[in-house]
């Protein structure tokens, strides 16, 4: 049987001045018909570059320097642009990570799929439409006739990804390349899209090259797995075997870094002092104005939570559930429209901003995006000492505190005078933690603080947060969409849906015995839930 896609000794050079000479080097990879091969790696490992090389979409700065890319035996390095155009969509197709930007906002979904057919076939208009509607049905879209005429902004993220899949598969290509197709989606939608890809792949017997960073997704969908590290393919094998008995130290480290779904046992001190308590906390957006009718959205609806000293509360939920709104209301980055926030004995939720200032330091927040949370034009030292100096600490004393904190977050104390771009994502997140701790807060809010990090770095940062919480007896509010992370970090957990807390309790109880239907749905959709990653069998 001839492979749908075969890469032989593929090497792609990076432009000069990059951190290494090759984006990928001597990669050998085969995708057979009817199989899904997962390409796993951390950011910068070169996995997307491989996909782009196959599709002929490499940015001009990158050049394939050696090797062969065989699609059904035809070397794509030797064909011209016209032939490549012919092959795209008919023999190979690709779906992308961002369904929001991959579709043209000014064309209807039907027209965009129609464009593929107009370019590659000589079918007449009614036949094309019939084919498209049939395809939309195949990707399980409700009411395909209506969707044919809808614009992308009228659809949800999952529906847009289905449109992308329909477009990619309408000409029945032999190879589908999926570049992180579910990363931007919520976990329940992700489960549906994974199932859809799996079903369509079986039905048509096509080969799929599936790119992901998420081992949960790998365990759900892959037949074979290839692990990529800084452009080197370090290990490859059938999914089951590779996940249970990885041989290369890097794959072992990577898989072991995936947090377990089994909640970590923590002793709770029921008598500990309550640091934060909210009472009927609400935030309503869209109050209307002179020109607009009020169309209120309850981003947070009567949220009541409580965190004790030394304890972590996790708020989990999908995008738009209001979990970040709650965090931002508590940190008073936005003003709540109703309810109260008690910080110890003090009510801070309704305090005027002038009076709020002396309480600001007591709540600190670490944000999701490590690349945007530090001012690129200031040294990290200046960023860390800014807060303490605002509250009257002298520069020298503040710097001394910053050095202590850099020690605490395991960064080189001599790097205080460097700029943020000189640090990696994980290091920047540690700097942000140091900046928050410099204020000696009572409550630390982590708003998706590890979501943008690679899994190995995520594990380090989670360990660090754990240590700090132990040492300083901090109260933590942990906002995350990732149930695995919540299971490892939190004592109690609040599940939010559409602005409301639908379930609230100790993490072990919520995970083992979920009471609310939505919690059950979330747990069921978590990718790789049946796997306990990192408990390897002897090879």
């Amino acid at each position: 049987m001839r492979a749908v896609l075969e890469l032989r000794n593929l090497a792609i050079a990076l432009p000069r001045g990059g951190d290494r000479r090759h984006a990928v080097e001597s990669v050998n990879l085969k995708v057979d018909p009817g199989e899904i091969v997962c390409l796993v790696g951390e950011s910068g490992s070169g996995k997307s570059v491989i996909a782009q090389a196959v599709m002929g979409l490499l940015p001009p700065a990158l050049k394939v320097t050696a090797g062969e890319i065989l699609l059904d035996g035809e070397d794509l390095r030797l064909v011209d642009e016209a032939r490549l155009r012919d092959l795209r969509c008919t023999r190979m197709s690709m779906i992308f990570q961002e369904p929001m930007t991959a579709l043209n906002p000014v064309m209807t979904c039907g027209d965009q799929i129609d464009e593929v057919l107009r370019t590659h076939t000589r079918l007449d208009a009614p036949t094309r439409k019939q084919k498209i509607v049939a395809m939309l049905e195949r990707v399980r879209m409700p009411d395909p006739e209506r969707l044919y005429a809808s614009y992308p902004h009228q659809l949800s993220g999952g529906q847009r990804q289905r449109i992308m899949i329909a477009m990619a598969l309408i000409l029945e290509p032999a190879l589908l390349i999926a570049d992180e197709p579910t990363t931007a989606l919520d976990v329940t939608t992700q489960a549906q899209i994974l199932e859809l890809i799996r079903d369509l792949q079986r039905e048509r017997g096509m080969g799929v090259l599936f790119i992901t960073h998420d081992f949960g997704v790998v365990s759900e969908i892959a037949d074979r797995v290839a692990v990529l590290r800084l452009g080197d393919l370090v290990e490859m094998g059938p999914t089951e075997g590779l996940l249970r008995r990885p041989t290369h130290p890097y794959s072992r480290m990577l898989i072991a870094s995936v947090p377990s779904m089994v909640p970590k046992h923590r002793d709770r001190d029921a008598a500990a002092q309550i640091v934060l308590r909210t009472e009927k906390l609400s935030k309503i957006y869209g109050g209307g104005s002179f020109f607009q009718k009020a169309r209120p959205v309850h981003a947070a609806d009567n949220v009541e939570i409580e965190i004790r000293r030394g304890e972590a509360l996790g708020i989990v939920g999908e995008s738009g559930s209001g979990k970040s709104t709650v965090a931002r209301c508590i940190a008073r980055l936005i003003d709540p429209t109703g309810g109260k926030v008690f910080l110890g004995p003090d009510e801070v939720g309704t305090l005027a901003s002038r009076l709020l200032r002396k309480h600001r330091r007591r709540i600190q927040i670490v944000f999701q995006d490590p690349y945007r949370s530090l001012n690129p034009r200031r040294t990290v030292g200046d960023s860390v000492i800014e807060g303490p100096m605002n509250y009257g600490l002298g520069r020298e004393a503040a710097l001394a505190r910053a050095r202590d904190l850099f020690n605490l977050v395991r960064l080189d104390v001599n790097s205080l005078d460097r700029y943020p771009h000189q640090f990696s994502g994980g290091q920047r997140q540690r700097i942000c933690i140091a900046r928050a701790l410099a204020m000696e807060p009572e409550l630390l809010i982590a708003d998706e603080a590890v979501s943008a990090l690679d899994v190995s770095v995520q594990a380090q940062v989670l360990n660090l947060l754990d240590d700090i919480r132990e040492k300083l007896k901090l109260a933590m509010l942990f906002i995350t969409h990732d149930l695995r992370v919540a299971a490892q970090v939190c004592e109690t957990i609040a599940v939010m849906q559409k602005g409301k807390v639908v379930e609230y309790g100790p993490v072990a109880q919520v995970f083992s015995n979920p009471a609310h239907a939505y919690t059950r749905e979330l747990l069921a959709a978590a990718p790789g839930k049946g796997w306990d990653f990192g408990h390897f069998e002897a090879a």
Binding site: G17, D19, A331, R332, L333, R357, R360, R361, I363, Q364, I365, F367, Q368, D369, R372, S373, L374, N375, R377, R378, S383, E386, G387, N390, Y391, R410, L411, D412, S415, R418, Y419, H421, Q422, F423, S424, Q427, C432, R435, A438, M439, Q460
Partner: protein, 312 residues
């Protein structure tokens, strides 16, 4: 301990890469051909303006009816201050009053550059302040921006006519008349940058560590608006030089005896068919300077924002 060592290595790698990148920015600006060409021509014009008295010029306002309408490159005998007659070559000819166009064009560079640079600096200084405040303080935004919309509706030329009749013609009047309609454009640019920067997490982090609003504006937001402003400044400078020439040409700018490129052209226009040189030389200098400033701005934009440069 092993984690420590790995971190150290990581930092070193990142630091060298960053050093390379930082050096890359400077050398990118310097290496950019547009920047080099534009900067050299603009510097040359400045030098010409400054060194005008040393470049073989005579008094640009001196009228000499004996040598009216001389063609460029012709040599004539001219009475010196001492009363002797001596031959002098008129490189760019003379105008209808016998003034040396070469001297007038060289001295004219002063006015054009002063107007261009002054307008750019003043409108950016005012626009930056208003834009920062308007972009960051929400309740002020609506009021300030409606006022700016109103200002934008004032045409520079009409304003100049009004001001000249009020204050009389002069350099300050011209600069003021060009600055006023330019301010709202700067405000809009700064405001749009501020609106996007204020949503950055590092600004929110500054709020939550208790930094006061003025400090947030100066420390965290202002530095990020400078790159687009430098670029905008060059374009304002170029267009201000043109508007000054237009105003002077229309007789509502700088008084006619002061040599400016616009004035020289205004006087030459009645003789354009017989003596095209009267308009050609100042026009050439104006065109080259404006072009150079625009090229400089284009190059700066490309090198300060590499993403934009690649796209265009």
């Amino acid at each position: 301990m092993t984690a420590r060592v790995e971190d150290q290595v990581e930092i070193d790698v990142a630091a060298t890469a960053a050093a390379a990148r930082k050096q890359g920015l400077l050398s990118r600006v310097a290496k950019n051909q547009s920047v080099a060409i534009g900067a050299v021509i603009v510097a040359l014009m400045m030098l010409i303006g400054l060194a005008a008295p040393l470049l073989g010029t005579v008094d640009p306002k001196a009228i000499n009816p004996v040598v009216r309408n001389v063609k460029p490159g012709i040599e004539r005998n001219v009475m010196q201050a001492s009363g002797e007659m001596a031959p002098r070559k008129f490189w760019m000819g003379t105008d209808s009053l016998g003034r040396d166009i070469y001297s007038r064009v060289l001295y004219g560079a002063r006015v054009s550059l002063i107007v261009g640079i002054a307008v750019a600096v003043i409108s950016i200084a005012i626009g930056l302040t208003i834009g920062l405040v308007s972009g960051y303080i929400r309740w002020l935004d609506g009021i300030v921006m409606r006022f700016m919309d109103g200002m934008m509706a004032i045409p520079a030329i009409l304003l100049a006519i009004g001001l000249v009749s009020l204050w009389g013609a002069g350099l300050v009047t011209v600069i003021f008349a060009i600055v006023v309609p330019e301010i709202p454009r700067v405000v809009r640019l700064v405001r749009s940058v501020v609106l996007s920067i204020r949503e950055e997490p590092y600004v929110e982090a500054a709020i939550s560590v208790g930094t006061s609003t003025p400090l947030i504006l100066i420390r965290h937001i202002l530095p990020n608006t400078l790159a687009p402003l430098i670029v905008q400044g060059t374009f304002i400078c170029a267009s201000a030089m043109l508007v000054e020439a237009i105003l002077s040409f229309l007789g509502i700018g700088i008084p006619p005896d002061v040599p400016t490129w616009g004035n020289i052209m205004a006087e030459g226009r009645s003789y354009f068919r017989i003596h095209p040189h009267m308009i050609m030389f100042p026009g050439l200098f104006l065109a080259v300077t404006v072009l150079a400033v625009n090229i400089l701005g284009d190059g700066l934009r490309d090198s300060l924002d590499p993403r934009l440069g690649k796209r265009i």
